[in-house]
């Protein structure tokens, strides 16, 4: 195990499963290298816990390069921690100071029940996409791709909206647990493209309906979601979705 010189105290939310009550527990993280990622620091802590016969801390992760959206830690009161534009797995220990106490919690939202410790259930997001986050085109129906011309500017905007990784930090950041940023990113991507025009109305109505049914809160425009989104998904998407929604409701 490579040694570093940082010694930290972790206060981590431990919760056996969704039915039992959770609480904070304190762990020492000694000899941490500033080059470790936040999750690698957790690996070290867990390895030591296991070797001394204790239970490790459960958390979600997979790609560890900021793209799968699986990691989901609420660090010192901020989803994905103190740095702008990065996910927990991309956060490095050089962003902390020796001697720091770091508080780590799961995403908190009624629509994201805790599975264990820091891992939560985000299947509500999948159901929102299933309600309308697609273009209805069966395999084999497509024409030559260059038959659809799209202004570069629109394509770029659609791409920027499509960059959402579905992590849920926007919900965790919001005092109302609103999922508007996530939903609007998908609505916007498709609203900006010619391929998305035919189902525009149903899409926004259905996705918003599903979002409400899943127990996400209302948007009161505090902007916390945009500030904490690791992919810098813009609030403009919410404005665009609101316009789409109004248009769809009145026609």
């Amino acid at each position: 195990m490579s040694q570093g010189n940082m010694n930290l105290t972790l206060k981590v939310w431990k919760q056996k499963n969704k039915n039992e009550k959770g609480r904070f527990e304190t762990f020492d993280a000694k000899g941490i290298s500033p080059d470790m990622s936040f999750l690698e620091m957790f690996d070290v802590v867990n390895e030591r816990l296991i070797s001394s016969g204790k239970e490790p801390i459960a958390f979600d992760h997979d790609c560890r390069e900021g793209i799968c959206g699986m990691c989901s830690m609420y660090i010192n009161g901020r989803p994905h921690g103190p740095k702008q534009g990065v996910t927990t797995c991309q956060l490095h220990m050089r962003s902390f100071k020796d001697g720091d106490t770091i508080v780590v919690e799961p995403w908190r939202s009624a629509a994201f029940p805790v599975i264990k410790d820091l891992a939560v259930n985000r299947s509500s997001f999948d159901r929102i996409i299933a309600s309308g986050g697609f273009v209805s085109v069966n395999t084999g129906n497509a024409k030559d791709a260059n038959n659809i011309l799209i202004p570069k500017h629109d394509a770029d905007d659609a791409f920027n909206a499509a960059a959402c990784i579905g992590c849920g930090a926007c919900v965790a950041a919001c005092k109302n647990s609103s999922a508007m940023l996530f939903v609007s990113a998908k609505v916007s991507q498709l609203a900006l493209l010619p391929q998305g025009q035919f189902e525009k109305k149903e899409r926004v109505l259905n996705m918003v309906k599903q979002m409400d049914e899943e127990g996400f809160g209302n948007c009161t425009n505090t902007g916390a979601c945009e500030a904490e989104c690791p992919k810098s998904i813009s609030l403009e998407n919410i404005a665009r979705m609101n316009r789409e929604y109004l248009k769809a409701s009145f026609s």
Partner: protein, 662 residues
Amino acid sequence: MASSSKLNAKIPEGTLEQKWTKYRSNVHLVNPANKRSLEIIVVGSGLAGSSAAASLAEMGYKVKVFCFQDSPRRAHSIAAQGGINAAKNYQNDGDSVYRLFYDTIKGGDYRAREANVHRLAEISGSIIDQCGAQGVPFAREYGGTLSNRSFGGTQVQRTFYAAGQTGQQLLLGAYSALQRQIGMGAVKLFARHEMMEVVKIDGKARGIIARDLITGKLERHFGHAVLLCTGGYGNVFYLSTNAMGCNVTAAWKAHKNGAFFGNPCYTQIHPTCIPVSGDHQSKLTLMSESLRNDGRIWTSKIQNDARKPNDIPDEERDYFLERRYPAFGNLVPRDVASRAAKERCDAGFGSGASKMAVYLDFAANTERYGKIETTKHNLHNPSKEEIIRLGKAVIKEKYGNLFDMYKQITGEDPYEVPMRIYPAVHYTMGGLWVDYNLMTTVPGLFALGEANFSDHGANRLGASALMQGLADGYFVIPYTIGDYLSEEIRTKTISTDNEAFLIAEAKVQDHIHKLMNIKGSKPVDHFHKRLGKIMWEKCGMARNKEGLNWAISEITSLRKEFWSDVCVPGEANEFNPELEKASRVADFLELGELMCIDALDRKESCGGHFREEYQTEEGEALRDDKNYAYVAAWEYKNESDFKLHKEELNYENIKIAQRSYK
């Protein structure tokens, strides 16, 4: 050499250009009413799994999808950066189906099946059309058309991309199609479920045993056919560009149930990854091959040069790829680039603390782009700063997310200093042996995407895995599965209380029970890291007889140690990531041995498989076509006991030649 009688590749008759077309016109079909009563299990939700599941559901089959992540959208296809190939010839630069086919066979060092690769090239264009129609936001030109870039091993621009997030955008397209079918009730999703066993009845695959990763409960699922779309096994090396959860479990269980494993030793080591920084490292991060479009790779001409890269003048830099391979330069295939970098570092020309890194430098192209921009904007006599500023903006637009990622990980700014890179394990060409229909040697059990061995021979070209995964899922399996299922229309749904299901479940139960009750002293990662080290050193970029023999005996004893000293905390009937890891590492400990056995058996060098004993005077891979132009398909007999079957590779359309990129 004749192929083993146990391997029938079922390659259709006819000329190469007509095989697939004819096949599609003659393949048996299943009528819509019968489709409704046929159930298909799809394990995996990456590009291969999502596209297959969505397409099959659209056709009317009843589909169940399994993945171990919390959502299908998180399969590791999401992490693919650079792009996807297609022979569209939009750039008018001489591309064609034949050229893509030829490049792929040659890139694979003449160890892939002609018929499969030609089909892949034929389908490539439809994939782009399909994804475009779904709203995948590909990069575009100002005129609104799709944009292309170049990748290694080719001299045309045929790679379609969405910034450095091509895999993400393609997967989200396939995921949306899948979610649409889930919303309509045509697909049932089982996320956070791990397939633990294949269930066979009368020799045919009839279902799986899966573990619900939240509750730990084992479940029995029936299917008329089972599709494994479970990705690659690069994580056998512990450190790789794969996600932490990538594993071989599904493929390995299939293997132990009779599916032959094809070319297990063919591993792709990608030349441009961020170097290892310490023992704590849990994974390696790729810097996309697309960077080689605009980055020049070099080392100092002086051994152990301690100067900072920006202090080394141009004439003291060795652009070793451009020097050794003038025709392809920085765009040689991955295996060639990786070995060349290793050769330089081994010879003492590397940089960084470990000396195991070479530079990837964007300065020249930043300046070139800057000049183009000043001309475009009609700026006369621009200052050098102005040129560089404009050039950086172009580089940022092309690779911004990769540069940010590099900076975040290393703490160095690649806009100012060259990147430091080193090769890392990235992709596995080997996988379950499949016939032209993508069926394994177990009837009813199919393998798609990276999980099969099929299209890339001994080395995969960049931007071809996304193409293959989507080809398999959108356009191949919807036809080829009919060949099998048309014979199954009379098979009624089999009860999961059938004895075969009960036996398979008990076997898994027992396996988990064993793992939980070793209660040893070392965490799973301890064993995984040791296995990875053995594999990297002896079965990595360079292999030799002595090393491989040593590795085989080391792995065997490590496996024993694992089974007597691993510590899996917690309970079996709860969310338990350590148990998941333990079960996966147990399989890697068996696979690693087979990889070494295969590498030992292949007494030639080809593509990613470099046997030090077999090289040309210039240090290039030396193939032995007379004796090794075959697919090695291994049959599992018993622990450490594998039997080799050979599928002869016939090249009827391509003249097989020494690969040259000079």
